[in-house]
Symmetry: C2
Subunit: 234 residues, 2 copies
DNA sequence: TCAAAAGTGTTAGTTCTACACCCATGC
DNA sequence: GCATGGGTGTAGAACTAACACTTTTGA
């Protein structure tokens, strides 16, 4: 089998925007790039797509390499291909964004990548076009979370409504009325109230909830209107 | 400048899903592939990304080559990279979808591509993973058009409300109440009523409208809720 | 004069927003 | 007993969905 002649071949990379929520603010996981060019600079976690490897598989592999996690939410953001985006050699990068439960992330024993979490408000300048990828990923996250119950991916299996509200407020950089918020969230029928309370953050304690997994899968793609017009905010 | 060693290089292609609306139903423009493999089979219009060419530029070039049109709506759908998607050689394709005014499309003099419009309901089997791309593009179009005033791109500069409704009904494969429909559309403030009527399709004639371009640009990214839950339809 | 498509208004139900007080508990 | 955060209800406004009749005019 011979290839297409006269066509220039390029490298395909995958870069991952990894979001987490620490209970207060949105964070992203960045690494210090370990090879030239731009060695030592802050960067998204990425890697080249291997021979015979599909793109989502590459993204999952790269995510697992850094975080040790599997089976997390991963969505393709899009392809970035400016000819000069990587000064060394033309490389088209397919960006994916991941939503992980930050508590599940344990610093991998050999921290080859010098990974660190950064508050989304205070991220350092990143290499190449990674800043643009992050911006697009943030926009996409807001867009999607306004309509679909996607942010649960950032929380542990058990969570409280105040925690959830804190998360939405962090994502949209605004505040919501807690009465309206809990009504809206509960009206989706996605949550199951638990018997136990979280007594960590308040004296009274807040009830834990879990996702109703079946309804979650069923309703994942419905338009649920969590935020009426996210573009209007801020 | 030397490249990254030990990495396998691949080809990057762009494929375009080109949507049009003929007044009745949604159509897409397909070509007969002019080279091996799969020569003579129906296919999306595509091409390889050239050296020093950015991805959106490649998509616009490919679209122009086939349709002669420039400055049309073009949005990246995503990257498709299954290792065996092109049997000849590994090629990652970045799919774009375009919305064009079908009346603007004139068969190019040298119809090198043997292009033809197909009703979206009756498209032939396409090569490689192009069927999957088309399916995703249809889904994306429905998704996006439910929230953003994107479908105007498919109509000429002057159009009537019944035409517009026909378009929405074609996209969502359903029918809408015309009173509610026109109220919702007009309430966006995006349309400017013209003095003339279209007397082609009815005796009484329907008023032409044009887009208010400034408001269109302003509101393009707001959440306008044209269709309340498109997932529920069908 | 009739057939065909355009245009328009009202009502009931639902959803959204704004807003304030009581509850449980640890200190 | 008081400070802290959790939990809940209501009323007015806005929006949505369902529904029918009149207008225009070419044939």
């Amino acid at each position: 089998m011979t290839g297409y002649t006269r066509q220039k071949h390029v490298l395909i990379a995958v870069d991952c925007i990894i979001f987490g929520f620490d209970g207060n603010s949105m964070q992203q996981l960045l690494i210090r790039r370990s090879f030239e060019p731009a060695k030592g600079k802050w960067s998204l976690m990425g890697g080249f797509v291997q021979h015979d490897e599909d793109l989502p598989v590459a993204a999952a592999r790269i995510l697992k390499t850094l975080t040790g996690l599997e089976g997390v939410y991963l969505e393709q953001l899009g392809a970035f291909g400016r000819p000069d985006r990587d000064p060394k050699e033309r490389t088209v990068s397919i960006a994916y964004f991941a939503l992980i439960d930050i508590n599940q992330y344990k610093l991998q024993l050999s921290n080859d990548y010098q990974a660190a979490w950064f508050d989304l408000q205070e991220t350092p300048r990143l290499i190449f076009d990674h800043d643009e990828m992050v911006k697009q990923a943030k926009d996409r996250l807001r867009y999607k979370a306004a309509i679909h119950p996607i942010l649960f991916e950032l929380l542990p299996a058990r969570f409280t409504i105040p925690q959830l509200q804190q998360l939405y407020e962090a994502v949209y950089e605004t505040t919501f009325d807690k009465r309206n918020f809990s009504r809206k969230i509960l009206s989706t029928g996605l949550l199951v109230k638990q018997k136990e309370k979280d007594k960590e953050t308040s004296k009274k304690g807040a009830y834990y909830y879990k996702l109703d997994k079946r309804r979650y899968q069923e309703k994942f793609h419905s338009f649920l209107n969590f935020i009426s017009d996210p573009g209007k905010l801020k």
